[in-house]
């Protein structure tokens, strides 16, 4: 073990060091180039990978957040999963949410916020339950996801892909009932969830025939009460069945986002 290193060893050791990961950026790049261009280096590196990579067996497995897979699918433009909603319990169907274009954790955050809001006086005129809308940009990617808690008259709007805005401009959310003029819901954040209170008039108009839209407005909101800037994203509203949704989604958050040790 104390004999001097021989030349052959010395050369082979560079490949071992490369595989182990101790080389600095320059030395690393040099070996990577060799591997790509000479079969000798390629074989030597492959042998060292076989020897050393089993060490990874000692590393604990940690479940990545579901949105990583959604992003991979998006990046590679893999086929969308079936678009038929499952017959029951679509709230806890991750596939559907991936199809809708958001990570499950973003949904879970929205739902968590919705279900943990202070319980105000129930509004007797509306049915209880949740509604949801995926507000898509023209390029097809999801700008925001809105989750509506009818019973507590709240809406949580979660950005999926933060949209860029010019200085002094901000997104404003509108409810557009079928065949009617847009009604201002409120200003929303471009990069973090926004909770909005829904008044009785708005609540009454939520439904599958209505749509949500986001337009570009001055930071203080549209001066006219109607959209003045470009509409950058739109989405229809879907009803959600009662019950169970909060529990399932919150549990999902707990499992995927807890820092694992």
């Amino acid at each position: 073990m104390n004999t001097p290193l021989e030349d052959e060893d010395d050369d082979n050791l560079r490949y071992a060091e490369y595989v182990l990961g101790v080389l600095d950026a320059d030395a690393r790049a040099a070996v990577a180039h060799e591997v790509a261009t000479t079969s000798e280096a390629e074989v030597a590196v492959a042998l060292w990978q076989r020897r050393l990579t089993p060490l990874a067996g000692a590393i604990a497995e940690i479940e990545p957040a579901p949105f990583v897979w959604a992003r991979i699918r998006d990046t590679l433009k893999l086929d969308a999963p079936e678009k038929t909603p499952p017959p029951k319990g679509w709230w806890d169907n991750l596939q559907l949410w991936r199809w809708l274009g958001i990570g499950a954790s973003a949904l879970a955050v929205a739902l968590l916020v919705v279900v943990s809001l202070p319980r105000s006086t129930p509004t007797p005129t509306v049915v209880s339950g949740y509604m949801a809308s995926t507000i898509q940009q023209d390029n097809g990617s999801t700008g925001w996801t809105a989750t509506m808690d009818l019973e507590h008259a709240r809406m949580v709007v979660v950005p999926a892909t933060p949209v860029a805005f010019a200085q002094g401009r901000a997104p404003e959310l509108w409810l557009i009932p079928a065949g009617a003029k847009p009604i201002a819901v409120g200003m929303i954040d471009r990069d973090k969830p926004t909770t909005l209170v829904l008044d009785r008039d708005l609540l009454a108009r939520l439904g599958p025939s209505a749509a949500l839209a986001v337009s570009v407005e001055p930071v203080g909101g549209s001066p006219t009460g109607q959209p003045t800037g470009a509409v950058i994203a739109k989405g229809t509203i879907g009803a959600a069945p009662d019950g169970g949704a909060g529990k399932v989604a919150v549990g999902e958050t707990g499992r995927t986002d807890r820092p694992s040790v």
Binding site: L13, R51, A60, P64, V261
Partner: protein, 185 residues
Amino acid sequence: MSVTSPGRDDLNRLLQHTGRNDQQAFAELYKLTSPKLFGVCLRMLRDRGEAEEVLQETYTAVWRSAASFDATRASAITWLVTLSRNKAIDRLRQHREELLDDPQKLDVAADERATPAAEAESSQEYRRLQRCLDELEPQQQSSVREAFFSGATYNELATRCKVPIGTMKSWIRRSLLQLRKCLDQ
């Protein structure tokens, strides 16, 4: 995964099918292997967001280069772990200081003890490697392990262990030669 550990052949087959643009095989491969690869990335990068990005880069590369996988040269899990380690190390070399300067990012270190969840196929190879590692001096063994898990350079390892860089290089090089001799027997 610990209940129905996929064998070497299962993963090889899934990776080969992925190489033929089989999306279902790719999804299954991701499901079975991403927790391990995420553990590897998180241990190196010590930041969840960074690890998620590298995991995404890794599987994007898996989809695009799976056709080049050669089962006679490496097992699928070795191929996958290598790909993720290379991407994580590249990331580390790009902005090392940033990560090391933020102590808050050090609190997500993954456990590096052997876990029962390790794939059946690699656990046998792991035990063999562990036997050879056990023949090394304790300090040298821990240097090799730390190097593999952290992706740190000689320089960084020497600083952490408070030894001259020459000493660290000598420890690791001799350990590598000894490991080769032990493993190739």
